[in-house]
């Protein structure tokens, strides 16, 4: 039954040392996703780690050069389908700046609510996988179950479970359905209550603390030097969140607290997203109170719109950190060049740095604590 490998493809052969052994972690491994880590170990300690991404490289940036600004929407959200509003956000903001569109006030608030709900659903899924990586099965079942509440809300709002395609240049696709505000407030309150119990069962758990505390410490200087972003950066004591530093859409009018922890170990990196989720619940409630009660949610768009000879770089705060989109336009309906600068790819550089000298058993905690989503990193 076995099929010979295609000609020209040689899987790597590693030289075996007497002391040093090479391990392939991934792409088929319970502790890794769609990527491979080439880890060299001396006994139980990691000597070096060489990340090998690219197993889900689908050429999004090349495809974007052949599709116009509207047709680019569905495939650009595929890299992170469980955070699809946030990965589409900078692209939509960039296209609006290129085309000179002004978004209605109500649409700005609806966007913020959708983005925060998406951040909740993304981070809950991330937390679930973090739990199962550390052998904490309850922490898989609870967040994945609670995530369905956030998904229900988004399903009601956008009509799809994960791939929403909800943001369009000029606003959003549709307004709130009937009674959405009440259901939203009720479910967000419930989610907030549940999130607090996670603190008791997971973050105060002595087993978790002993497995993650003091592993993979990233100092403040190194976090800045390596150009990390998102929860990794904030766990190392750098106060940077695009939502507060360079507020976009309705974030300007909202009161947002940035969660910063000092130590920079795996425990802090696992805790910052959880604190962010609690903050997301507050943001949703604020936005629901402050938003205009009526009004249009979309401006009319000409078919096949063209941008001028211009370029934009827009960034937003996604679940994995700052997410930038760089669009070069050359007076055509299609972008001349589109680049996604994603948080996962920027945090990848930490992995060889953090795993060096670490025990092999700490690898899952460090790896998943980086808030790394391989599909997004590969694009």
């Amino acid at each position: 039954m076995s099929v010979p490998l295609p000609p020209g493809l040689q899987l790597e052969k590693f030289e075996e040392d007497d002391k040093i052994m090479t391990l392939n972690v991934g792409p088929q491994h319970p502790g890794s996703g769609h990527m491979r880590l080439i880890i060299r170990v001396d006994g139980d300690y990691i000597v070096s780690c060489d990340p090998d991404p690219g197993y889900v490289h689908r050429g999004e940036e090349k495809m974007a050069e052949y599709r116009n600004y509207i047709l680019n929407i569905p495939h650009l959200e595929r890299p992170v389908i469980h955070d699809s509003c946030n990965i589409l956000y900078p692209y939509v903001l960039g296209v609006e700046e290129l085309l000179g569109l002004e978004v209605p006030e109500r649409a700005k608030y609806v966007r913020v609510i959708a983005a925060e709900l998406n951040r909740l659903s993304y981070t809950l899924y991330w937390l679930a996988i973090y739990g199962i990586f550390l052998g904490h099965s309850t922490m898989f079942m609870w967040p994945v179950g609670d995530r369905e509440l956030a998904i229900d809300l988004l399903d009601k709002l956008t009509g799809a479970r994960v791939t929403h395609s909800y943001f369009v240049p000029g606003g959003i696709r549709n307004d709130f359905p009937a009674n959405f505000e009440d259901v939203c407030i009720r479910q967000v309150n419930y989610l907030k209550k549940r999130l607090k119990t996670y603190g008791d069962i997971f973050y105060d758990n002595p087993i978790l603390i002993s497995r993650t505390e003091d592993t993979g410490i990233l100092s403040r200087e190194d976090a800045i030097r390596l150009g990390t972003t998102g929860s990794v950066l904030r766990a190392s004591g750098v106060d940077f969140d695009v939502r507060t530093k360079e507020p976009y859409d309705a974030y300007e009018e909202l009161d947002i607290h940035t969660n910063v922890l000092k130590k920079g170990d795996s425990y802090d990196r696992s805790k910052v997203p959880w604190l962010d989720m609690l903050e997301s619940c507050n943001i949703i409630k604020q936005a629901l109170e402050k938003m205009p009660k009526s009004g249009s949610v979309r401006v009319k768009l000409k078919p096949n719109p063209k941008g001028g000879d211009d370029e934009v770089y827009k960034r937003v705060e996604s679940g994995r950190g700052s997410l930038g989109v760089y669009i070069v336009s050359r007076s055509k309906p299609e972008p001349y060049r589109l680049k996604l600068s994603v948080g996962s790819f920027r945090n990848l550089i930490c992995l060889p740095y953090l795993l060096k000298g670490e025990k092999l058993g700490n690898m899952p905690a460090v790896y998943w604590g980086l808030n790394y989503w391989p599909v997004e990193a590969d694009r």
């Binding site: 996703g33 769609h34 197993y55 689908r58 052949y66 569905p74 899924y125 179950g145």
Partner: protein, 171 residues
């Protein structure tokens, strides 16, 4: 009488005939029993290939709970597994690895192609690094369409696979 019939020359033929009769008599119920055992204990291998793994994870959440149909969560060695759920896009870099994983699994093994990308390439039909479906590298049993399929669709696909295993000849 029997002694005359069973000369050393004819014994082999007689035993062979007896075996045929026995196989005809018990093959069907025995095969049914074997297949029945197999279909309630499908172990998927933990190989995530693209974004459909989100919905695969959601399918084992408390709300959908695919475990009640005998599909266990995907954790463990691939030497014990008998099901590959191809969760989405297969890139040119992943394809030889997927085939390696499939070759290492013991017989019998089943394949579910989950998501439009695994069936035809889906949204990435014109990408330079994506295979147009996995038919070229794996024999697919059940196709589960969707981009990504909802967990209900995945569960339906698993039930279809179980129906198919029931009708299969036990190997």
């Amino acid at each position: 009488m029997l002694k005359d019939l069973l000369t050393p020359q004819t014994t082999n033929a007689f035993v062979g005939k007896l075996g045929d009769i026995l196989v005809k008599a018990i093959d069907k119920p025995l095969g049914y029993a074997i297949n029945w055992g197999r279909l309630w204990s499908l172990w998927p291998v933990h190989i995530e290939t693209a974004c459909c793994s989100i919905e695969f994870g959601a399918a084992s959440s408390p709300r959908y709970d695919v475990e009640r149909f005998g599909i266990i969560e995907a954790f463990g060695s691939l030497r014990q597994c008998d099901l590959v759920v191809v969760q989405g896009t297969i890139t040119r870099k992943m394809a030889p690895r997927l085939r390696l994983v499939y070759d290492q699994m013991p017989e019998p093994k089943y394949v579910i192609a989950m998501g439009a990308c695994a069936i035809t390439g889906g949204l990435y039909f014109d990408s330079y690094n994506v295979l147009p479906g996995i038919d070229g590298i794996l024999p697919v049993d059940v196709y589960v369409p969707g981009c990504p399929p909802r967990p209900e669709t995945l569960i339906q696909g698993c039930l279809l696979l179980q129906e198919k295993i029931k009708c299969m000849k036990a190997r």
